[in-house]
Amino acid sequence: MEIGFTDLIQGFGVALQPHNLLYCFIGVMVGNLVGVLPGMGVLSAVSILLPLTYGMPPVGAILMIAGIFYGAQYGGAICSILLNLPCHPPHAVTCLDGFPLTQQGKGGVALGITMIAALFGAAFGIIQMIFMAPYIANIAYSFGAAEICSLMLVGLLAGATLAKGSPLKGVAMTILGLLLGLVGQDINTGIERFTFGLLDLDDGVELVALSLGLFGIAEFLRSVNNTAPINTAYAKLRVSDMRPSKAEMKQAAFPILRGTLIGSLCSLIPGTGPTIASFVAYAAEKKIAKKPERFGRGAIEGVASPEASTHSSVQGDFIPTMSLGIPGDAAMALLLGALIIHGIQPGPRLIVEHADIFWGLIASFWLGNIMLIILNVPMIGIWVKMLMVPYRYLYPTALFFICIGVFAAKNTLFDVVMTVFFGVFGYILLKLRFEPAPILLGFVLGPRLEENFRRSLLISRGDLMTFIDRPISAFFLAVCVLLIAMQIWVRFKRKKPPILIPDTAYE
């Protein structure tokens, strides 16, 4: 691991450059803000900032966008614990015990424990990434077109079926995303597909327009005049309240450890992001507890374990994205989209060819998490005030940011009209109880899937058996079959899902 160590030091050299430090800070700050503000999602925040990074150097852009993801996890916890509002899905389960603690006057302690759990979980996730990502990339280095194709299929299928909502509908959304990814000129022949004579669609659908329509405007259409009244009675606390007692630390220590391990395991399974990790961690903690009836009434373990799990899973989620070029969820799909926009080909070569990005990113994770602790502990009062911003001021402002952000992506107003179109379409999907997140996954992977599919059949002279004859590809296909079999088994064996996955759109 000597090579890894020198690379990491180089990474710190990249991340500590003043402008990169600034971008990282902007990223975590915006992320934290978005996590705190009720009714704002990470996906829309990243999409709004994405066009502004087009003119930036790629390293800074990626550090900033990544910062939004893990920064939002810190802010989301504040909202859940103090307001009982799961502003941010991974933290929905934190409400169950976090809010009762707040009502008992221990909201500060719950937040303090959350910060410790967050730092521990994140640190573990980052270490996992340092060791595993280069290793996985090394294995993937020898993959041919057929293997990449089958691997993508695993990623897409897992993303569609393991996430929230009905698995069949998830598959439908993924295929729809793949089709949307094909819009525009065909890479091989230059023929325009699905452009309906619109010249503006020649380059394909703009990623930012799609994502801001589905996760921004569609969400506004659903939430306008339809938000829950916010109970801010308990949203007061001082920094000194956040220090947990020795007994509380002792109580939380093992749950944090268990949560971290669960989170890191979940991050390795494609399609299971932080939301699932936190639910599994909570369920596990409740199962092994001596007095399970304490849960839901302010058990400190019920906050510590899922929070650690969320943070370790968020950091671990970067592993498949950075080492294989296969994102685990919609948020990572956006990050991958950002890489592609900056002209960086994602895949196993990324770590070697763009060592500055990979190791710089890891170094920035350390720095960013420390910044977040500094932002959240002494400045907790400011974030608590932010909780009070009512939705009726928030969404019109966000709508403006969406319009100007989409325009700035390619300097065309056509894309803003497209965003409105996707917004209305996304709202209809939400009403029909589809989860639009897999669309993004399919959209980002669509062109690469087609390219590799074509290439592998060209190599095998049209023989479809090539996907089964090659052992690694056959293994991935077996995983796909297993995923489908699991869904069928769950459907017919069990009446109710084992854990409650809330149905909401923002991830």
Binding site: L168, A172, L179, D186, E450
Partner: protein, 166 residues
């Protein structure tokens, strides 16, 4: 059990549309999209498995999508009704129209009028979509966002829209 989500949690009544019926619509929509994609895709050159044309992949995906649509509609009758309560809200035309109009006004004024007018009208109209916002509040919010937007986007990031111009 449903959580009180910020978006879509409050005020939703149960049982207006039965989940089964909803899944029929959902399956139907997916089926239509699939058929549409397959039909459009089949208009491009298909090629062979060895040398795939631009039409092959979209057509295959379209057929697959239509098939999944059939499955969604088909599984609706398998008694999934007890799983989740159907959520349905009365249509909120004021909110919807104001949000969509706000975005479209931005498009209109950004090309004929400039950033100042585009920002103000976008935020003002969108804010009027909320039934508790007053004219005054909406105007104040719009003015605030306009000042911020012009400083950050016009002067700071030099977005390619003139502040005032036709």
């Amino acid at each position: 059990m449903t959580h009180a989500w910020v978006g879509g949690g409050a005020g939703e009544s149960t049982g207006v549309i039965k989940p089964n019926r909803l899944d029929y619509y959902a399956g139907g929509l997916v089926m239509l999209l699939g058929i549409g994609a397959a039909y459009t895709g089949s208009g491009y050159e298909m090629g062979s498995l060895t040398r795939m044309g631009p039409g092959f992949f979209p057509t295959a995906l379209g057929v697959l999508l239509a098939f999944v649509g059939v499955l969604i509609a088909g599984s609706a009758s398998f008694g999934e009704a007890d799983e989740v309560h159907a959520t349905s809200t009365p249509p909120d035309w004021r909110g919807w129209i104001c949000i969509i109009a706000g975005a479209l006004l931005f498009v209109l004024f950004a090309s004929h009028g400039g950033l100042l007018l585009a920002t103000f009208s976008c935020v003002f109209v969108a804010a009027m979509g909320d039934r508790t916002n007053t004219w005054k509040q909406a105007a104040l919010l719009a003015a605030g966002v306009t000042v911020f937007g012009i400083v950050v986007f016009a002067y700071g990031l030099r977005v390619q829209i003139p502040i005032v111009g036709f």
